[in-house]
Point group: C3
Chain length 338, copies 3
């Protein structure tokens, strides 16, 4: 994989300041780049590195073009340009374009042309696989499930029956889509299972991280909107709905029937209680527990700041006395007034 | 799958007010139900929906029977009745009842009659599979492991050697049972592995969620009691014991050697430190960290409530000053007394 | 598996007080041990059990040798001795030493002598498997990936392309190594994928727990140092670096580009924000959120202590009033001064 800087500029729609005939064979940060590599300046905290970088060329905003010592690829949004350039240097192995002899495809399944089905993958009865889809080694597509066009399931993905996945999705290894929601009725201290007869609908352009789990709905479907990005180790409970283009970092846990709006971002380890609604444009900081609906866009948090354990112990002990402290302040104020 | 309302009433042991000959082909909430669907009223917050629902019939408590506009299926516990009715409409595909030619079953394994072993599943040496059990595609049952009668392993489940799983269990995709407990001794700054030579004992009627992990014991077994329900993404460390009919929501992390009583409930994301004991009937709210044993049944919590991030920052900064604030209150009280 | 006490003493380099010809066939705690079992006293809280134990012999420090009622195996570090003794009683099934006919090994892969490749395992193009390595059933080693000598992948492990794993590692079931880092640029409200073209480098002697995920780097590699021990359900984001001999308990989530030093310990459920540096010898208590770099070795914490939910509610409500309380204390102090 190597391109001239001019070819990359054409692909990205940018201008080159300097020699556009140089060869670029990779991407790297300003600090780590060497000869033959293209870098970018997106965060002004690294602006000083423009002088020292050994990158053969740098993607910069017009304002920084003059600061580059070597060739500059000038674009309004360097980070977006880097994202697009990364596609030129993708190391992801090409799929085979055929069905490996060890794969087991049900005679009742519908598999479009140009589908890759890897070693030991399983396509169960009545499943439908769209054109250009890639099913990784050991992955299972359950009865009556659908995988859209150009969607890629990496290795060892589990898709249960009646799950519908849209086009252009990426599902990472170990992800499980369509497992039973956690629903039980209690009868004299014992749990009676509520069969989860809904499915899961995943939109187009969705990415689902490694070992993330999405439960099927109790009666109707769990719904993941178009363009949603889910990191690794996330849990989406039954009948959750996630609006288009929302993103969640690793370890988020969303409880049942909660509706998250579009263009929301949840940082890592966020928990959201069940049956809540989060308005479009909600942002939640890491490891926050959301226990009530959010009706105004903005940023929300819970938890405490980190200290040394010895300092923290004092604060934690006082936390339990907070109500008492508040009452004593009120008493003092009253006595001062008198 | 379609039944008359009368057939469903007979199955559930309830009475029909109205026409019991109507056909029911599915279940839905009061708000989402349409013609041909059966709904239920379990939460009085939704009582007003009885008037508007398009459900063909509704499961209600005797007190609400008169409020139904159409046929009512009257039972003392509508939520439990719904749970039982859900079994009539289960969409889970029937297992094959045989062993797929691609499955690899050790000649030394014991497989009872009526067992289903799906594509590419693996049954290792000396494993024992009880009658009616279902082993999903790509699942592995390790050396000397036991899977009880009518237990179902969904796709891509990993069961290590010497793990014993009881009857009537459900194990979801990606679950791992019997991985090594996290045990090391430190020798001059390096970690020396403690081989985990215990196993895991899972009782009868247990459900284990997708991508949940249960470690084998260090010397004796990790033990999951009868009727325990574990949601997705849970971690059970070595030598934990969980009492019968306890339930945990997604993301709980239970550290080593802790004993959780029976009929406990842990909400999502709860952490429990090691070597603790939680009495029967303990309930813990979401994302609480339990750092000491609980000797009285009841509900327990930690953490802080959510605010806007800007408000939260002020509280979080003050949290570190709590000890100082408490001391100043005391000084003020003293000076006022004087 | 049975040894004389003398054989075990020789293996561990310790002295026997009493009859060294007795047969030892297993290990157990002081409280649970029976005849034929060897126990150990490492935690002085259990010292009184030395009198009651039914163990046939006990590993003790020289200071406790006189307190044993039966034979004692005397060593300076009883816990380390127990760790080493556990290797004598390991129940882990021996690997086959050959390649199962159902495994699919690319003709372009390089597989050393004495490698075990289990049922339905997959070795993709140009992968390299070192001598003595064990690849469990259903595990996949991706294109151009490397697995070092004597490293064991348990069942259903997923290793992506271009991942390099060192010698003597243990990777548990469901672990995913090399999935895409969570990187996107935003273009008019939609997420544009940044292809993750780095890999993952895992050192020697590393243990990776069940269902733990390690993402590949964005441009350069994610790096796990020698001797690192990762428990289950951990998430390591792209370009994280973890120093040698650090250990993390279950559920830790490390965000992108963070560098964790060597000999650090993170308790369960710890979150570390991105782009931070944690100095060598950092220890973090359970479920703490680390939001800034740590430059001094020591122990760090966040969160609040657990209470009954009713008590906790009062403190949580007051937490939101903390800034107001602090200001009122200041006002009172001012008015008292005046």
């Amino acid at each position: 994989m190597a391109y001239t800087l001019g070819e990359i500029a054409k692909f990205l729609g940018g201008q080159v300041n300097g020699d556009d005939s140089i060869t670029i064979s990779g991407l790297a940060t300003l600090a780590q780049a060497g000869p033959g590599q293209l870098s970018f300046l997106a965060n002004m905290a690294y602006k000083d590195q423009l002088q020292q970088t050994k990158a053969s060329a740098v993607i910069v905003h017009p304002k920084q073009a003059a600061d580059c010592v070597g060739p500059a690829l000038v674009l309004d949004n360097p980070y977006l340009a880097y994202a697009k350039a990364s596609q030129l240097f993708n190391t992801l192995p090409k799929a085979s374009g055929d069905i490996h002899p060890s794969a087991v495809v049900s005679p009742s399944a519908t598999v479009a042309d140009g589908v890759s089905i890897a070693v030991n993958a399983v396509i169960e009865d009545h499943a439908v696989i769209g054109s250009g889809a890639v099913i990784g080694a050991g992955s299972v597509v359950g009865v009556n499930a659908r995988v859209g066009k150009n969607t890629r399931l990496h290795h060892n993905v589990s898709v249960y029956h009646d799950v519908a996945i849209g086009d252009d999705c990426i599902i990472h290894s170990g992800a499980v889509i369509g497992s039973d929601g956690f629903g039980f009725a209690n009868e004299k201290g014992q749990w009676v299972k509520i069969c989860q007869i809904g499915g899961v609908t995943v939109g187009h352009g969705v990415e689902i991280g490694a070992n993330t789990t999405i439960d099927r709905g109790a009666m109707s479907d769990t719904v993941i909107g178009d363009g949603v990005k889910l990191d690794n180790q996330i849990q989406i409970a039954h009948n959750v709905e996630i609006g288009a283009h929302s993103a969640m970092a690793a370890g988020c846990m969303i409880a049942g029937s909660t509706k998250i709006g579009s263009c929301c971002t949840l940082a890592g380890g966020v928990g959201v209680a069940g049956h809540l609604q989060l308005v479009d444009g909600t942002h939640v900081t890491a490891m926050t527990l959301v226990t009530k609906s959010i009706t105004e866009p903005g940023s929300y948090s819970s938890g405490t700041a980190m200290s040394s354990t010895s300092e923290w112990r004092k604060s934690a002990a006082r936390f339990r006395q907070l109500d008492d402290m508040a009452k004593r302040i009120k008493l003092i104020e009253k006595s001062l007034k008198e």
